[in-house]
Subunit: 309 residues, 2 copies
């Protein structure tokens, strides 16, 4: 049993860009520090919300190194390292594992569609063998609406059987409560951790053995989400969940990544946060105003965020 496994609320940190769309390590580190200060357990940098696949491997490694140089503790990091080419996944994973990260969040290769379970198994196996580091702790990334390559329970069982030390858990971003429940039931009582990919399923998950959540909107609402994680057995847990749901739904009524970035831009007064790399597109002015109005109607705030600007 690993004593140090990370649990709680993890944030797939949005990636700030300068005017020339180069990654901005300074703003990135400042935001990471604020997230930890607000109660986030960990930082799942280089996830879908981070636009990681819109960055080259070199850019990801440089940004990671800047974060560590800025003093962000690697034990609080769970970087995304799953690429289409296992040579890329190996290179990224080796780098972050050698630095002492809590774990890695690993997409399956996502270019080919309709691939066999055997092929996906081999992708993970090849990566694990080549990383060749006993500290490697993999959280599988199930996000079929993006990857189009699911991580079914049968695959997890096969991976756990072959690599019991390396396979640590899963992020279930399907948004499907039935899939979350099936995962929680299948691995109940084991050391395999299940994180729903949204705070909408945080309480439901915790009540059935979930390990927390890894959620895009944690970028702007980390304190309230962490509070529910810390107090999920309290009498007002359902009310807290309802409060989280209202904020989440206001944000995800828009394209989520630009909406999260626009919210951070507004609350910091630093419009640079709005920038996205293509193929994403920032929210239009009218959308930004509408989102702001809806969040203000919910009395949504980001405590201490102005200091980030």
């Amino acid at each position: 049993m690993k004593q140090t496994k990370i649990k709680g609320v993890l944030v797939p940190v949005i990636t700030p860009f300068r005017q020339d769309l180069s990654p901005d390590g300074k703003r990135f580190a400042a935001h990471c520090r604020w997230l930890l200060d607000q109660g986030a357990s960990g930082l799942a940098i280089f996830g879908t919300t981070s636009e990681a696949n819109s960055l080259s491997v070199d850019e990801r490694i440089a940004l990671f190194d800047e974060l560590l140089a800025a003093g962000i503790p690697p034990a609080r990091l769970m970087p995304g390292t799953g690429c289409c080419a296992f040579t890329d996944s190996v290179r990224l994973s080796r780098h972050v594992v050698a630095s002492g990260c809590a774990g890695v969040l690993m997409l399956p290769p996502f270019y080919y569609k309709g691939v066999s379970e055997e092929g996906v198994f081999r992708s993970f196996a090849e990566t694990i063998e080549r990383v060749g580091d006993p500290r490697l702790s993999i959280y599988l990334y199930h996000i079929p609406q993006m990857s189009q390559v699911p991580i079914p329970i049968s695959l997890i069982e096969r991976l756990l059987s072959a690599y019991p030390v390396a396979i640590a858990g899963i992020k279930d971003s399907s948004g499907d409560p039935a899939n979350l429940r099936a995962l929680l039931d299948a691995f109940a009582g084991s050391d395999f951790d299940v994180f729903p990919g949204s705070e909408l399923l945080l309480l439901e998950g915790l009540r059935h053995g979930g390990a927390g959540c890894i959620t895009a909107t944690g970028n702007v609402n980390p304190g309230a989400i962490a509070k529910l994680y810390d107090n999920w057995r309290s009498a007002d847990a359902d009310a807290m969940q309802a409060g989280l749901d209202a904020v989440r739904k206001a944000i995800q009524a828009f394209p989520v990544i630009p909406a999260v970035k626009a919210t951070l831009a507004r609350c910091t007064g630093d419009d640079a946060w709005s920038r996205v790399r293509p193929p994403l597109v920032e929210l239009a002015a009218g959308q930004k105003a509408q989102l702001a109005a809806e969040l203000q109607a919910l009395a949504f705030t980001m405590p201490g965020i102005a200091s980030l600007a």
Copy 2:
């Protein structure tokens, strides 16, 4: 009007791997040479069939350089250079354009799904601006079953209007005769070249202004496909097309990339050609035998291929 635009039969060349799954530049160059000897007009290296997205950008650049060092003329090459990160697309495109390639075949970024046409436009625009080379000649790659990000006619028109020199044509791998026809009609009489992504639509395409085809099975049947391209106005064109169709259908009854590789392995007697990188999986022994029997029943041969072993 560009006088030197490449037309005819282009082959998305399969990538050979050594036992440790590293790309094998020697076998790659030998196969490229054989394809040109057989009548292929060009080599669309680093395509879907090439497992290019299973290679890192560094691996692709190294393999490209090996090919040029082996004497393959860059004017016959149309490398795939479209990646999820525009920084990768720019780096790869710059490298191959500076070497004098005939063009590049460019996927849209394919991780995010449901992205806007504006976002895809910006991806291509950012890449074109940053490559900044007037020799850049882009063939858009429409393969929605893999990329999940289509290239509609409205996007092509916008790109052509903004970048009339850089946008050269399209590979339509949808396999949909109606989409092919719509493209051919939309750009009839213009300098924008339309290549179907399979020889199944070669004759149909040529009869309506098509530029040839770019096809996976060209790896094993290039001579017969080139012969139809060269003689499509002849009386026996339909019979030639029927012959091509029979071979194609025998191969695509199996997963196409492993089936093409298995066929080359069998005909060269060099089983190394069977290897694929995960998430693909090589054909099982029974599948290989069945495919071989079906091709033998069609009297399929690969002239001069034994010399490649």
